[in-house]
Amino acid sequence: MKKILISLLFLLFGTSVYADCNIKSGSINILANDFPALRTFVETAKGCKGSADFKVTHSSEHNKIAVPALTANPSEFSARIAANSSIVPLMNQDLIRPLDDLVKKYGKGIQDSQLITIDGKIMAVAFMANTQHLYYREDVLKELGIAVPKTYEEVVAASEKIRASGKMQYPYAAAYKAGWNLAEEFVNMYIGHGGEFFKAGTAQPSINNAKGVATLNMLKKLAGLSNPDYLTHDSEAIKVEWESGNVALMTLWASRSGTLLDDDGDAKITTATKLTGPATVAGGNIPAATLWWDGFTLAKNRSDADAEATFRALAHAAANKKMVADAADQAVWLIEGFKPGPKSIGVIEAVKMKAKPYPMLPQMGLMHGALGSEIVEFLQGKESAEQALKDVEAAYMSKAKEQGFL
């Protein structure tokens, strides 16, 4: 009983330390993706909710909910944790509000580099960075005398060597699930080849070129070294493949490193799992990867009082040195005071190598969607690379016309 009392007191005391935002009223409702770092972030924000009403929805289906939920007036959510790509539809539909005043008033501790400004207005406050980079099994590479690959050509050579050694049948893995994931792999590889998705300054597609073909050929080579079910494998599925020891080289999100390196699972595999930067391709300097930020945005169709309360709670987390120190291995925080640990190597390397951010263009979502379904048949060997790229462009054009971009 005494123990319970003490711990209760601690709890009360603990929360009173956090509750320094002094929010008196308002209602906070947050929509966010579902991975550990975001849960930590939102929990930290909750710590200073004061007497405001606090709700959160963590869902991996957040993209599907966001636009309809924020279009309603008043909108279901007062804040949406977004990323480079998911802020675009919100901007296109004019669903989020500029944060300049709130940042000025309550944004103490938020660094300038965290602010996402578009046309001079602050539209989001970023708090973590993410990218896709290489993971490798140190033990397997060492045993076969393979150096840690730096380019995708080396990844292919290394995988072939591992396969030839008979150790693993499908030594490479990446999230090639048809749809969003596969398209993301194309985007990364195409950027690595130095490709541009659109003719400069227009929404006209321009991927049907030598770089596009080279991109597809590289994806196909890698797919040939992956589990034949690759078209059904998302990030979670390849994580499982990795943890069962079927894979020695993998391209995966940095934000997943936490769950790969935790104490769950085979200790032998966990200790041999090492991270390195993203690979380059075709002799390019910039990595075949895109940089992502995660940040919060506030709904436009919601009262100013709610927006203020939400901002204060989230800003508290977005400038929280204690959270950054406690959860240093959950993400690459963009917040002041972050000391990168071994799990952040991938992102740090990507930034050093000058990786490009994912293109924040209004019509990029349509291109991404067209890629996800139209390049599948090429990977299955049913059509040529040129035909696949032609299909992507045609599918994109129809959609872009319907959306008024062309």
């Binding site: 048809a178 079910d229 078209l231 209004p362």
Partner: protein
């Protein structure tokens, strides 16, 4: 039932149908004729943690003005229906002129998303519906012949596939056919091919989904047929036995004619259901190899960060038309029979 009684009896259902089915269909129809306004974009400076770039955004001031004037969007007529992602009229014309052989032409057409989806949907309907009817009927006949004591548990076991939520059912099967799952691994052993994967080949994926469809839908046919079998009069059956008719002859000449209207009913419902095949594609993560019309609608609505209402609406309308065409022969026949009966 007098017509007046029927009218009052049907009124609540009718109203609900108009409200929840009729009006949404009309609204979808209207939406399918509209596209988004031309986007007014402007060049701006964008800064994020990784640096600043000059890029474009949608000009909200100008766009919102246009949107307020015409909230539905730009009238597009049948523009969305005939574009490349739907009926692709222009593209098909071009293919016809450009290709040298009919086979090549068919290849090109079936490469278009709508026709690709249509072919899968029709294949699924064509294989699943008759098999569901046949299997359902066979199960019903067999169960009807079993002694009453064990019939209850058997019926329960038989309708289990229908009770299981489609998504859960397909997910379970999805894991079982995994290369390391119980079915997948055993198939590899049986075929003596360690690289055999049901998920990587298009044909095998189609077969899996079709088998799943038959498994999932048969219980419905079975339940209805079983109920109908209970109404088969015993006298003619007994008379036929005395006349020395074989079991097959009895089924063929007495049972089948008796439950014929029910067979039509089950066929209709099955066709409609199968034409809207959707859950197994999601459950089996089969988007890469198999797309149906319903999946196209879903894809337009959720798979991209931009929602394509016009596209989704157009595909929905065409799905309705498709179902109407498929059902037409059966409906016309029923109508004719109804007329002659009167």
């Amino acid at each position: 039932m007098p017509n007046k009684t029927f009218f009052w009896f049907f009124l609540p259902t009718g109203l609900a149908m108009i409200l929840f089915i009729g009006l949404p269909i009309i609204s979808t129809g209207i939406q399918s004729f509209y596209a988004q306004h031309d986007q007014v974009v402007k060049e701006v400076k964008k800064c994020d943690p990784f640096g600043c770039t000059v890029s474009i955004v949608v000009d909200q001031e100008k766009t919102s003005k246009i949107r307020e004037e015409k909230p539905l969007g730009k009238f597009n007529g049948f523009g969305t229906y005939v574009d490349r992602n739907h009926l692709a009229v222009e593209e098909i014309g071009n293919f016809w002129n450009e290709t040298n052989s009919f086979g090549e032409f068919v290849d090109q057409v079936t490469n278009l998303p709508f026709y690709k989806a249509l072919i899968f949907t029709l294949t699924y309907c064509l294989f699943v519906t008759p098999n569901v009817l046949l299997l359902g009927f066979i199960i019903a006949l067999s169960l009807n012949a079993v002694t009453r004591r064990i019939r209850g548990p058997l019926i329960f076991g038989t309708i289990l596939p229908m009770i299981v939520t489609p998504l859960v059912g397909s997910l379970v099967l999805f894991w079982m056919i995994d290369a390391e799952g119980i079915i997948g691994a055993n198939l590899q052993m049986l075929m003596d091919d360690p690289y055999l994967s049901l998920k990587s080949s298009k044909t095998l994926t189609w077969i899996t989904i079709i088998i799943y469809g038959i498994w999932h839908h048969s219980p419905f046919a079975f339940v209805v047929f079983y109920a109908a079998l209970q109404t088969v009069p015993q006298e003619p059956v007994e008379a036929a036995i005395i006349d020395g008719a074989s079991r097959w002859q009895r089924v063929r000449h007495i049972v089948l004619p008796h439950i014929y209207p029910v067979v039509t009913f089950v066929a209709l419902i099955s066709l409609m259901d199968n034409f809207r095949v959707f859950e197994p594609i999601i459950g089996f993560s089969a988007e890469g190899s198999a797309q149906s019309l319903s999946w196209l609608i879903y894809d337009n609505l959720v798979n991209e960060e931009v929602i394509l209402f016009g596209s989704a609406a157009a595909t929905s309308m065409m799905t309705i038309v498709g179902i109407a065409i498929l059902l037409a022969p059966v409906l016309i026949r029923t109508w004719k029979e109804f007329r002659t009966a009167r």
